[in-house]
């Protein structure tokens, strides 16, 4: 069993600048921030190191931090410009009984995060969900399709109505000839 500080120090020693900060001041497990384009290496280490053995990805969540500038476009819609989207990974070691959370933040305009699908298979559908609802692209994902919204959603929507859990999402007026708003 390792504490969050010990795990953080191990990662810092192994990967240096790819590991950003340890946030201990959370109501849940402490969160380690990681570079989104290094998350695959870091995850592999966390899973395979004999002292860590974080073999279970309990959850993977996408979050719209909504920390950009609010601007109003020509149609009068309020949009968010800049800022970040984040992905949280909740890890658990079944044998060593410790937990840790990872966080990666990526730019809102071009959200790209490495996939961890070939490390924890449960990431496959979770990453598809984050892609579907927030538009985060997972590099090297084997099957990055929408999972909840219709496959042909893009054909009926515009830039602001593509990913429903973005904070500046606007519902499209019609989908396949069906009126969407109430």
């Amino acid at each position: 069993m390792k504490s969050a500080e010990e795990i953080f120090e191990m990662l810092k020693g192994e990967f240096g600048d790819s590991i950003l900060v340890l946030d201990n001041d959370t109501p849940t497990e402490p969160i380690i921030s990681v570079d989104p384009l290094q998350i695959h290496r870091v995850s592999k280490f966390l899973r395979e190191h004999p002292d860590l053995q974080l073999d279970s990805l309990m959850c993977l969540s996408g979050v719209d931090d909504a920390n950009g500038n609010k601007v109003t476009n020509a149609d009068g819609d309020e949009l968010i410009e800049g800022g970040t989207l984040s992905v949280y990974y909740n890890l658990h070691s079944v044998s060593l009984k410790h937990k840790i959370s990872l966080k990666v933040s990526t730019s809102r305009t071009e959200p790209k995060v490495e996939s961890v699908e070939n490390i924890w298979k449960s990431a496959n559908w979770h990453e598809r969900e984050a892609f579907d609802l927030l538009g985060i692209f997972f590099l090297n994902h084997p099957d990055l399709r929408r999972i909840l919204m219709p496959y042909d959603w893009d054909e009926f929507t515009t830039e602001v109505s593509r990913h429903p859990l973005r904070k500046d999402y606007k519902n499209p007026e019609f989908y396949q000839g069906m009126k969407v708003p109430y």
């Binding site: 919204m149 429903p164 519902n171 989908y175 069906m178 009126k179 969407v180 109430y182």
Partner: protein, 163 residues
């Protein structure tokens, strides 16, 4: 409703209007498409079980739309599902009836404002005969919905579908 009014004394011959006979036959065997969507489907299943016994009104679930007379839209209709429901409806033979069960199928229910994926009422896609309010409606409410549908069928004419 008049079907047996003109019975002859020997008991083996009945005279009735074709309309009455057809309507009586149709309303007494409303075979529904075995199809559930959300929590309303649980109530619909409870209605089918022995305690409420849908079968006493002639409602039997069928596993193909080709053999179904009615479809109960029992739950939240997502935009993705609406297309499938429309296809199922089109595969059913005439005469066909639709019971919209619960607030979600009626008007979007609790998803009316922020449900980006929910169709705000199944009547935007297919024509509804009876709306059953409730969230979810109790089996008694669904039974009353069926009785309303039977009442509607009873007043039909062969020349046009709805009374």
């Amino acid at each position: 409703m008049g079907l047996l009014d003109k019975e002859f004394s020997d008991g083996n011959i009945v005279i009735a209007k074709v309309d009455d006979l057809f309507n009586w036959a149709r309303l007494s065997s409303v075979w529904q498409l075995g199809f559930g969507l959300a929590c309303c489907a649980i109530e619909m299943m409870a209605t089918s079980m022995s305690h409420y016994d849908f079968d006493r009104f002639g409602v039997i679930p069928r596993n193909t739309p080709r053999q179904a007379d009615a479809i109960i839209i029992s739950g939240t209709v997502t935009l993705k599902m609406a297309l499938r429901i429309k296809r199922l409806y089109e595969q059913m033979p005439e005469p066909k009836y639709i019971i919209s069960m619960g607030s979600c199928a009626n008007c979007g229910g609790p998803y009316w404002e922020h449900g980006y994926h929910v169709l705000k009422g199944i009547d935007r896609v297919i024509p509804v005969d009876v709306y059953v309010p409730g969230c979810p409606p109790r089996p008694e409410a669904l039974l009353e919905g069926l009785l309303k549908l039977q009442e509607k069928i009873r007043n039909e004419s062969l020349r046009k579908k709805s009374a």
